[in-house]
């Protein structure tokens, strides 16, 4: 952090405020429209505060589309991926960081190489495989492929390498096996790394779009982003309903973000390790 000239500080504030204004205005406009009575949202001159409050839009949207269900689906998918990857990633990470076995470096390189392939390449065969398992349009189809990832293995391996081996020696002398060392010593030490990996995974899967789009068909199996994308066709002219739906979908995410801002930011900074 640099200490700076008062004038520079004022300039920085002006720039940042203007930017923040531009960032928030579409969202505030969305909020304002969602509270207007249907039909009054286009009246000129533009009104930022609705003339008459009309929270009924929210009830109407909730009646028309299964928003809670989509929300539940997204939550299940994102949470399963988060905890799944925290477990599988840290297990494999432990193997690569601490165990000696033949082919270790080859397998690790193979894992790393898969990170370079963009998801668009695998989406078509993934769709075929999941369909062959009979998981098309079902929870296993949405969840299972998300439980593993080379990125989480990589992150956890890098983190375990920074833990001094001396910490495990005492346990090893007491006769602890690898699972006990992993579960009782390494995992409790990995709180920050796991939290960061977790928020990052959660964010990725919460916003994931292309995969749930192709793997689901029924309305009740959609995740929130896929369900919301249908808004485009359902509410072509009812802007008040559309915006009410958007606001409802945003509220929990915004709350989660404000609570865990620290980890979000760290998770993003951690992509630097990629």
């Amino acid at each position: 952090m640099k200490r700076s000239h008062p004038l520079a500080t004022v300039l920085a504030h002006v720039l940042l405020l203007a930017g923040a204004f531009l960032m928030l205005i579409p969202l505030l406009w969305t909020l304002s429209t969602s509270l207007k009575a249907p039909g009054t949202e286009f009246s000129l001159p533009v009104r930022w505060i609705p003339e008459t409050w009309h929270p009924g839009n929210y009830l109407e949207v909730a009646r028309l589309v299964p928003l809670p269900r989509w929300f539940f689906n997204s939550l299940v998918v994102a949470l399963a991926a988060t905890f799944g990857q925290m477990l599988t990633g840290s297990m494999a990470g432990y193997a690569f960081a601490r165990l000696r076995f033949r082919g270790r470096d080859t397998i690790f390189l193979l894992f790393l190489a898969t990170m370079m392939i963009p998801p668009q390449v695998t989406i078509i065969p993934l769709f075929i495989i999941v369909r062959a398992f009979g998981w098309y349009d079902s929870y296993p189809g949405l969840i299972v492929p998300g439980l593993f990832g080379a990125f989480s293995v990589f992150i956890m391996r890098q983190f375990f390498l920074t833990i001094p081996e001396e910490l495990e020696d005492a346990a090893r002398i007491d006769g602890a096996n690898h699972w006990q060392i992993y579960w009782r010593i390494m995992l409790p030490l990995s709180g920050p790394a796991l939290a960061t990996l977790g928020t990052f995974t959660f964010m990725t899967f919460w916003n994931s779009f292309l995969y749930p789009l192709v793997i689901t068909r029924r309305e009740e199996m959609r995740t929130l982003p896929v369900g919301l994308s249908v808004f485009r066709d359902t509410f072509t002219t009812e802007w008040t309903l559309l915006t009410a739906g958007l606001v409802m979908s945003l509220i929990p995410v915004v709350i989660a973000f404000l609570l865990g801002q620290r980890y979000f930011v760290r998770g993003i900074t951690m992509t630097g390790l990629k």
Partner: protein, 380 residues
């Protein structure tokens, strides 16, 4: 003493096998690796191999996928040839280039001459070449009727998107991060504000901006109307649809890159600025000679991440325009989706498109990696 070193050496050098642990941990490794290994083999490596195979077939989802059907539908390189050689269009590149070719050649020669005279650094030269390719692609895309040349149309559209969105996103987020990197009140507020679009997700962003850009009732054109400017048709117009998507993309991404820049900026040791001040450096000098070089590894990372993300853009055009109007926003991944997941479900052609996207991303990342040595400064 001797006994001590026997114990400590194997622990310090983690990779060599020490006398205490002569045997490998094969079984334990199997236990720890099994979940990831099985999962990644089935859901990542398997699909990658299948995707290569499918891209050499004309398999269309109608028949179950077996080795038999793969062999029956095998077409060799035909998908790639069809996509890359304009054959899809039965159309000669020379006719469309026509009068633009001499202009392109002259500017190319000029650039090369400048680089040869060393009036222009390699990076700038490559950047300008890239820019002219983008502009050429853009105007090519507008002037030529692309109706049945969708692959090259989507290629140019993607280049146009990447060429504008990546530099602007990186530049704006760097500017914001520099403004934010000082002792200011309300940093948490600013960071949250800029980050809001990132956590909202692309679908919400796309829907909000689809409405912002509505030509008759959207807030943007209403605002322009207040300034007595008649706003364009935005998403309904071939010229303005892509700029609208680019604006939306920048808006939704700068918070993300700003946070990475901020972390990089905070890693620059303060004493370097003090040293520069002692040498009489002004603000601009300090930014140019201290901040930028020391931030270059962060910038490198951001450029690579932004390029990869931009080449894979899908959600915004899918929701805002469905690739329209007249294919003006059909980008590569959208085209892949269209080919593979719309009738007649040409999975082979779709896979070929995906691999072409991969090769482009890979090549650009490799070039960046090489160029990195030229412009990334490492603090010793």
């Amino acid at each position: 003493m001797a006994a001590e070193s026997q114990v400590t050496i194997p622990q310090a050098s983690g990779k060599s096998m020490g006398p205490l642990r002569r045997h490998g941990d094969g079984l334990w490794a199997l236990l720890f690796l099994a979940p990831s290994l099985v999962g990644i083999l089935i859901f990542v490596v398997g699909p990658i191999v299948m995707s290569v195979l499918i891209s050499f077939t004309d398999w269309r989802l109608a028949s179950p996928l077996t080795l038999q059907s793969l062999r029956e539908d095998w077409v060799g390189w035909e998908n790639y040839v069809q996509l890359l050689t304009w054959e899809e269009a039965h159309w000669s590149p020379f006719r469309a280039i026509a009068w633009r070719a001499p202009i392109l050649l002259v500017s190319l020669a000029g650039l090369l001459w400048l680089m040869w005279r060393r009036s222009l650094g390699v990076i700038w030269g490559v950047g300008l070449l890239f820019l002219s390719a983008v502009l050429f692609g853009y105007f090519g895309g507008l002037i030529v009727d692309w109706e049945d040349r969708r692959f090259w149309q989507s290629m140019w559209n993607t280049l146009y998107f990447v060429g504008l969105s990546v530099p602007l996103t990186v530049a704006i987020s760097l500017l914001l991060a520099s403004a934010l990197n000082r002792q200011l009140r309300g940093i948490a507020f600013y960071r949250a504000a800029y980050f809001m679009p990132v956590i909202s997700g692309a679908v919400v962003v796309a829907l909000v901006w689809r409405w912002m850009f509505n030509p008759s009732i959207g807030p943007i054109n209403q605002f322009l109307g207040l300034l007595s400017i008649e706003g364009p048709g935005w998403l309904n117009s071939r010229e303005w649809a892509m700029p609208a998507i680019i604006i939306t993309d920048i808006w939704s991404k700068i918070g993300f890159y700003m946070v990475i820049f901020l972390a990089g900026l905070q890693g620059i040791p303060h004493h370097l600025y003090e040293a520069a001040e002692l040498d009489g450096a002004n603000k601009w000098h300090k930014f140019w000679n201290v901040t930028l070089p020391l931030l270059s590894s962060t910038t490198f990372l951001n450029v690579v991440l932004a390029l990869i993300a931009a080449f894979q853009v899908f959600t915004l055009p899918y929701i805002m325009t469905e690739g329209g109007p007249a294919g003006a926003t059909r980008v590569l991944v959208y085209y892949m989706y269209e080919r593979a997941f719309d009738t007649p479900f040409r999975m082979g052609l779709g896979s070929a498109i995906a691999w072409i996207v991969f090769v482009i991303i890979f090549a650009i990342t490799a070039v960046q990696w090489y160029a990195r040595r030229k412009w990334v400064v490492y603090e010793e």
